[in-house]
């Protein structure tokens, strides 16, 4: 665990990157998860399920998406060496991720503005839902590749070695599936709160419980594969001083989320789910510390000159003064019942 007094500006900005990524998973991830439940909508209430999902996503998804842009901009401004390395080695999964992002966003808006009950509307709904399923997997694969410590400068030993092997492993695939189940779980939990009628609440309660169980399974598989494929993260997750407390908190949050769902205390479940997600992301971030792109690129190695970091911190502070009240207003208008 980094000691707080020894944290420099690069560490703090790397922390801001993880905060922005956490916000993206908690907010944007839920929008992707909503798309997954749109795809899996079944039974007599499927159209009402789809309506609820669309109603929940529509006013906020564009704002939620900007967290990802913030992650990217902060990476190339403050840690250009990391950005450059990631975009070279992960060219293929990141390009596919972009296709997913483009199709998800455009199809959602096309569906919203297509005439009601038209074939067009149904087709765009299918595109939106399918893209919502594939995009989180690609995001997980890319993040998983960072954790394995195989994102290194190209060696010139061939296309597959340099541009495919680093991200096409069982571990990255399991992180992809873990991300997908996690996003679906977050969305289902939020929807239990946002549904107004009790039958819809029950639908998403059941879905949340199933997705929660799948998150658990995917997490176990990922952990086992991490032991084989990602020694750095495995050490960080199991052996370091903070590992115990972080896992304990994540575990308590996960149990609280299940309990909240089981006993229909949906607001408790929502808070606990958010805490669980925060625990997972920060557990990973701390396990990797001080490496930004393992095995050898640390936060300090990748950092931009101090003046850039100072100016970016000021920009972030000023930006937060504009952003946070605006976001609070957005969520108050659309998410308070």
């Amino acid at each position: 665990m980094p000691s707080l007094s020894a944290l420099g500006l690069p560490d703090i900005l790397a922390g801001v990157v993880v905060i922005a990524l956490t916000a993206y998973v908690l907010l944007g991830g839920a929008d992707f998860g909503g798309g997954v439940w749109d795809l899996l909508a079944r039974g007599p209430r499927q159209e009402r399920q789809r309506g609820l999902i669309s109603h929940a996503i529509a006013p906020v998804w564009e704002a939620n998406h900007v967290w990802l842009i913030l992650v990217i901009v902060l990476l190339f401004t403050c840690f250009p060496a990391a950005f450059s390395r990631l975009t070279i080695t992960l060219h293929i999964p990141l390009s596919l991720l972009l296709v997913g992002i483009v199709l998800r966003g455009s199809a959602f808006i096309f569906r919203s503005y297509a005439p009601d009950d038209s074939t067009g509307q149904r087709r765009w709904g299918r595109v939106f839902a399918t893209a919502s399923l594939l995009t989180p997997i690609l995001l997980g694969v890319s993040l998983g590749a960072i954790a394995t410590g195989k994102v290194e400068p190209p060696t010139g030993k061939g296309f597959v070695t340099d541009f495919v092997a680093p991200w096409a492993t069982p571990f990255t695939a399991s992180v992809g599936l873990f991300t997908l189940t996690l996003f679906a779980f977050i969305a289902a939990v939020y929807l239990t709160v946002e549904a107004k009628e009790s039958d819809l609440k029950e639908d998403f309660r059941l879905r949340a419980l199933v997705a929660g169980a799948l998150v658990f399974v995917a997490a176990l598989v990922t952990l086992v594969l991490a032991w084989r494929e990602s020694p750095l993260v495995w050490r960080g997750l199991t052996a370091s001083a903070y590992a115990g407390p972080v896992h304990l908190l994540t575990g308590i949050a996960a149990i609280a989320a299940f309990w909240g769902l089981w006993s229909r205390r949906y607001r408790v479940a929502r808070v606990a789910t958010a805490a669980q997600v925060i625990g997972i992301l920060w557990g990973w971030a701390l396990a990797q510390y001080p490496y930004l792109v393992p095995p050898e690129l640390t936060i300090n190695d990748a950092a931009a000159p101090a003046i850039t970091l100072r100016l970016t911190s000021i920009a972030l502070a000023v930006g937060a003064v504009v952003l946070l009240p605006s976001l609070a207003y957005l969520f108050r208008v659309f998410k308070s019942q």
Binding site: P59, E62, F76, S84, L98, I101, G105, Y113, Y329
Partner: protein
């Protein structure tokens, strides 16, 4: 196709696609806010219908603009990792500020589109104004970053390495002001004339349609002043380019030899091999006059630039001619509209003016694409002018032709869908019978439902 050419093509295609949506994202919210402001005062349902239709247009175009903008932010690294390695710390600051402006835009667009019934009319209008303002601000920050690539400042170059960086100085680079001014005016002119042109075309078929008359008036109110001011901004740009980017100016004017009292070239085809221009019309001392406001001034030609550092002269020259030509047409149509309005108090009954406005609908966008071609192709072979060559910045990833083709097909498909959506959602005449002729509004206080 070499990987470098594929990367350049993919970047050019992505930018050419995104710029249309970015421009509409700046211009359209202004139209929507003006219509809503009118509705709040007049309670005329026609104004409300316009505000709602333009907000639908903004919603569709903003969404596609947001995702294609995301693609670009990744492509900066996916295609040009070495460029971002050097430039990130210098131009990250305007991109960070742009991030917050974009955040504000996305937040208040959500509030605007879905908040009709949830917030007070004043708060709703304010949300629309914030969308319009933050859209313009975010465009300005992105263009500042591009201006730095043209006139890089705020660092020292020691043995090819960038040191002693100063991101504030980088933001204050010499091209920043002229480029942001030119681009912002272009956004309003292009959007205003595109919308005005569509409604002018529909008015030719249905001259009494009150809906299209109102739409035309509001769109021209935004587009015409910007188009009339644009030549002045172009003059500022030309003088700035002459001073700070002489190679680009020489390519724009196909000026092969440095000379005093340089002529202004109209049309013509640059014969690069023989360093001369075929079939051009030359206006004596015109270029010296425009570039330096002095008919005797010396203008640097391409002979001052090493041959391997020349941009593609025919492309830059042609694109420049297209931009200036179309921009001039828009300014003239803008003046004609203003004059007609001043003399006759209305525009919609003048078929020749309507035809001219209808013809100018695509011109702003073509001029913008041509203008970006001048800026970007005119900077080649450099990605950071004089510092880093485009060929040194490209990713080592092979097979880029496939990602280029993939994204091109994706964008072609999206483009077709967007055009169809816009036609069916906002252009087609409303069915309201009373609006198909000159009508007297009956004020209606009703609050609209879901957009």
């Amino acid at each position: 196709m070499s990987d470098l050419l594929a990367a350049r093509s993919q970047m050019a295609m992505s930018l050419a696609f995104h710029i249309i949506f970015a421009v509409v994202g700046i211009g359209m919210p202004v139209l929507m806010v003006v219509a809503e402001r009118r509705w709040l005062r007049s309670r005329d349902p026609l104004d409300l219908e316009l505000a709602r239709r333009w907000s639908r247009g903004t919603a569709i175009l903003f969404a596609v603009g947001a995702v294609s903008g995301t693609v670009l932010s990744f492509e900066l690294g996916l295609l040009w990792p070495r460029f971002m390695l050097l430039a990130g710390p210098l131009i990250g600051l305007p991109f960070s500020l742009e991030g917050f402006a974009f955040f504000t835009e996305a937040i208040f667009l959500g509030v605007y589109l879905y908040g009709w019934n949830r917030i007070s009319p004043g708060a709703h209008l304010l949300a629309g104004i914030l969308v319009a303002v933050s859209g313009a601000v975010s465009g300005i920050f992105v263009v500042i970053a591009n201006a730095w690539m043209n006139t890089p400042t705020g660092f020292e170059l020691v043995n090819g390495e960038i040191t002693s960086i100063d991101p504030i100085k980088a933001m204050m680079n010499p091209a920043a002001f002229q480029q942001t001014l030119h681009m912002t005016l272009a956004a309003y002119a292009a959007t205003g004339f595109a919308v005005a042109g569509i409604h002018a075309a529909l008015l030719l078929r249905e001259p009494m349609n009150a809906f299209h008359r109102r739409a035309l008036a509001i769109a021209l109110m935004v587009g015409a002043p910007a188009a009339i001011l644009q030549p002045l901004s172009g003059d500022i740009s030309a003088r700035n380019v002459a001073r700070y980017q002489p190679a680009k100016l020489a390519a724009m004017e196909a000026l092969f030899e440095t000379r005093r009292a340089a002529p202004l070239l109209i049309g013509g085809w640059p014969d690069v091999e023989n360093r001369r221009v075929r079939f051009g019309l030359e206006i004596p001392a015109g270029l010296s006059l425009l570039a330096f406001h002095d008919p005797e001034a010396e203008v640097k030609g391409l002979d001052q630039v090493a041959r391997e550092d020349w941009p593609n002269v025919p492309v830059v020259h042609l694109a420049f001619q297209i931009m200036v030509g179309l921009g001039s047409v828009l300014a003239l149509v803008g003046l004609w509209s203003g004059w007609t309005l001043f003399r006759r108090r209305e525009i919609a009954s003048h078929p020749w003016l309507l035809r001219a406005i209808a013809l100018s609908a695509p011109m702003g966008f073509i001029a913008i694409e041509a203008g970006w071609t001048v800026t970007e192709v005119g900077r080649q072979p450099w990605v950071i002018s004089g510092v880093l060559r485009t060929s040194e910045a490209v990713t080592p990833m092979p097979g880029l032709v496939y990602t280029f083709l993939g994204f091109t097909l994706l964008y072609l498909f999206l483009g077709v869908v967007v055009v169809w959506m816009l036609y069916s959602q906002i252009i087609r005449s409303p069915r309201e019978q009373g609006w198909h002729r000159i009508y007297t509004p009956t004020p209606r206080p009703a609050v609209p439902g879901k957009p």
